[in-house]
């Protein structure tokens, strides 16, 4: 059967089980879009900026638990994807990005809209390809999906010259990818698993520290059962929220720079940390020299480079989180349950005391809305069941602190890179993946303006998303640092000159509501969430509210600034 490159591309994307892609056309990819129009079973969502396509694909991947796909043209289309790819790379999100490229004969000649996107994205992709032979197109696409989703997942870019897309060749379904140079190790070493269980039996003050890897490897159930069986309290990184039920008494809240007092104190005083799917980013460790000084550390990760990178580890376990945690669970089930939690009561009492004395707190007065109150009400009204995406800054931290996630894949944030402008396109991607779910972008007034054009995408594609702006008329997180560390000199962070978000919503054909009265927060949220279509809710909040606790950069995580 003879097929064009464009037809092969679409066939292979469908073969990989993808039903939705996010894209934006151009001269180099016009043939692909022409062909796509004949494939109603592969939904193409036309974004308004290529960055939006990549963030949407990222969130689609997380909400759908599959590979996200973006398709853009050469040159500026390709360079516009870089931020989104870098974010997915840091967060290990499986994704394949297809970029158009000038015809092979012109490559290297500074042709119109030519950029070396493979060179540009080499350090921020898991792998990338320039396809130079149409006969290798199908196999390369298959390999790209394989690499994106296996091992430690990540984004893979495939650059497609126009003549490859237009070529007509005999198509044959390629064999399953087998690479001699890439064989991720899923199966953990049994001895190490046994060692971890032995360490647990010795421990008096254990903590489980869950990260994004637990969610990516679908290990939440195993992790939850381990914690419950041995009464081990659980904390998480930003990417790990939802890996363990946020409403369970053993949940400590998030760890790190804006972690809860009890999570940071628990890690600081623990004698055993079972870390799963985390990479000990500086935002969770604080000063590495003072991190968990009394703890033995068990670290489970599919990526050996994550182990021993920042923190010395006593029991490294290289392998799939799910396989490792299930292996540990099997061994635990063979033990007398009491031996797994000797002397646990004093530890849990201590943690409870930290929780009682120093909870997350804020005071909602009668006049000005507190941003935390908006998130707390959002949690109550949605019963914790919405998919929450976030922008970056204080809004992101308050969403992480005050919305409690009982299930994985419900909190979608740009964790490792912290990309302002992530939340709105991400909400669109999540909605495309889960049309029956309520999807809410918890936004800042600064960030929302970075990809505001995607409102049009939401409306055109009928992907109804709800945007809750915690509008402090500041680049709040930066302002907070200026308040604490720069004598309140608020340089370049004032955002009072801003559009009227209600009118802006209307200009795009969305609905907009504003609220500046604490007594009306609940009412406005209900109205906004119940109103059909895409809605912006503009909450005018306390301008100089700060996120607490806060660990100043370079400090130990147990040395927190508190309210």
């Amino acid at each position: 059967m003879k097929l064009t490159g464009a037809q092969i591309l679409i066939k292979m994307i469908k073969f990989e089980g993808v039903d939705t892609i996010f894209g934006y056309p151009g001269g180099a990819t016009i043939d692909i879009h022409d062909e796509l129009a004949r494939h109603p079973d592969l939904r193409h969502i036309l974004v308004r900026h290529e960055q939006g396509a990549v963030h949407a694909a990222d969130a689609y991947s997380r909400a759908h638990d599959s590979v996200g796909v973006a398709l853009v043209t050469s040159g500026p289309g390709a360079t516009n994807t870089v931020t989104g790819i870098a974010s997915a790379h840091t967060d290990s999100i499986p994704m394949v990005v297809f970029t158009g490229q000038v015809p092979t004969a012109l490559i290297g000649n500074d042709a119109f809209q030519e950029v070396d996107i493979v060179g540009i994205t080499r350090p921020c992709t898991k792998h990338n390809y320039l396809v130079k032979d149409p006969n290798k197109l199908a196999a390369t696409i298959r390999e790209a999906f394989h690499i994106a989703r296996s091992g430690r997942p990540g984004p893979v870019l495939v650059d497609l010259p126009k003549d490859i897309i237009q070529a007509e060749i005999e198509f044959e379904m390629p064999e399953e990818t087998a690479l001699r140079s890439y064989k991720p190790n899923y199966n953990p070493n049994k001895k190490q698993l046994a060692k971890a269980v032995a360490m647990l039996k010795e421990a008096k003050r254990p903590v489980i520290f869950a990260g994004g890897g637990v969610i990516l490897s679908r290990a939440s159930d195993a992790l939850t059962r381990i914690a419950k069986m041995a009464d081990i309290p659980v904390t998480g990184s930003l990417m790990g929220l939802g890996a363990f039920p946020g409403s369970h008494p053993l949940w400590l809240g998030m760890l790190g720079m804006h972690g809860t007092f009890r999570a940071n104190m628990s890690i600081g005083n623990s004698d055993l940390i079972i870390a799963a799917g985390v990479r000990f980013d500086d935002r969770v460790t604080g000063n590495v020299k003072k991190f968990a000084p009394h703890a033995q550390i068990v670290q489970i990760d599919i990526d050996p480079t994550s182990i021993h990178k920042n923190i010395p580890v006593h029991c490294p376990i290289v392998g799939d989180c799910k396989a490792a945690l299930e292996g540990i669970l099997d061994l635990m089930e063979k033990e007398d349950p009491e031996t797994l939690k000797i002397d646990r009561a004093p530890w849990l009492d201590q943690i409870d005391q930290w929780k009682q004395t120093t909870p997350l707190k804020y005071e909602q007065g009668p006049k000005i809305i507190k941003p935390q109150y908006v998130v707390e009400k959002l949690y109550e009204i949605t019963k914790g069941e919405a998919i929450i995406t976030t922008e970056v800054g204080q809004n992101q931290m308050w969403a992480a602190q005050f919305y409690h996630f009982d299930k994985p894949n419900h909190f979608i944030t740009s964790g490792g890179l912290g990309v302002m402008g992530f939340g709105l396109p991400a909400a669109i991607g999540a909605k495309a993946a889960c049309p029956d779910k309520l999807v809410v972008d918890v936004a800042g007034d600064g960030s929302i303006q970075m990809n505001i054009q995607e409102l049009m995408t939401a409306i055109e594609s009928r992907l109804d998303v709800k945007i809750v702006i915690l509008n402090n008329r500041y680049l709040g997180m930066v302002r907070q640092w200026q308040e604490f560390f720069y004598d309140k000199a608020y340089a370049s962070t004032n955002m009072e000159n801003a559009p009227d978000f209600v009118l802006l919503a209307q200009a795009y054909g969305a609905k907009g509501f504003r609220c500046d009265d604490p007594a009306k927060v609940e009412e406005t949220l209900k109205l906004g969430l119940e109103t059909p279509g895409t809605v912006i809710m503009d909450f005018r909040v306390e301008r100089e509210e700060s996120v607490y606790p806060m660990v100043p950069a370079g400090g130990a995580i147990t040395e927190m600034l508190l309210v």
């Binding site: 060179g119 080499r122 001699r180 140079s181 480079t305």
Partner: protein
């Protein structure tokens, strides 16, 4: 922390961009490369990269893991942990003033090097050996007046049963 010299032998897929991935990994993560040499192996789809780097024990562990993580890297062998043979090749152009010629020839002889080009005022000497031999040879020739040096990085292979 104490730094050491490490000699890595890396087998990679012979594909465009592989060297750039490795160089990019080193520059992006602030690892340093002292020398690098690349050539195909008996298998035409596989190239061997021999690399010398100076770093501490924790960094070399990261380097090895990070290299291994690159999709096109097949194996990473740390020869420093094994018995191995190491060679560099250098071409050295020296001033050959009549009164110095005898001494140059003597040094060349002692080091078992070869004179591969003789000009009116210059010799070009070919030398092969490990990095210590290279350094010793160059320091002895220096007083004669070295004009130019072209040298390869180290290449190395593990000896049989090279544990």
């Amino acid at each position: 922390m104490e730094t050491n010299r490490y000699l890595l032998s890396i087998l990679v897929d012979d594909e465009p961009g592989v060297l750039s991935r490795i160089a990019g990994l080193f520059s992006g993560r602030g690892f340093n490369i002292d020398s690098l040499s690349v050539a195909t192996t008996a298998d035409p789809h596989v190239s061997r990269i021999t690399m010398v780097t100076n770093c501490d024990a924790q960094v070399i562990e990261q380097i090895k893991k990070q290299l291994h993580k690159l999709i096109n890297v097949i194996t990473v062998t740390d020869l420093t942990e094994k018995k191995y043979v190491e060679r560099q090749l250098a071409l050295i152009k020296v001033h050959a003033k009549p009164e110095k010629r005898a001494e140059i020839l003597r040094i060349v002889d002692i080091f078992r090097c070869k004179i591969v080009d003789v000009g009116h005022s210059h010799y070009i000497i070919e030398m092969s050996g490990n990095s210590e031999k290279h350094a010793a040879f160059v320091s002895l020739l220096k007083p004669m007046g070295i004009v130019e040096i072209a040298a390869t990085g180290s290449i190395a292979l593990a000896r049989e049963n090279g544990k």
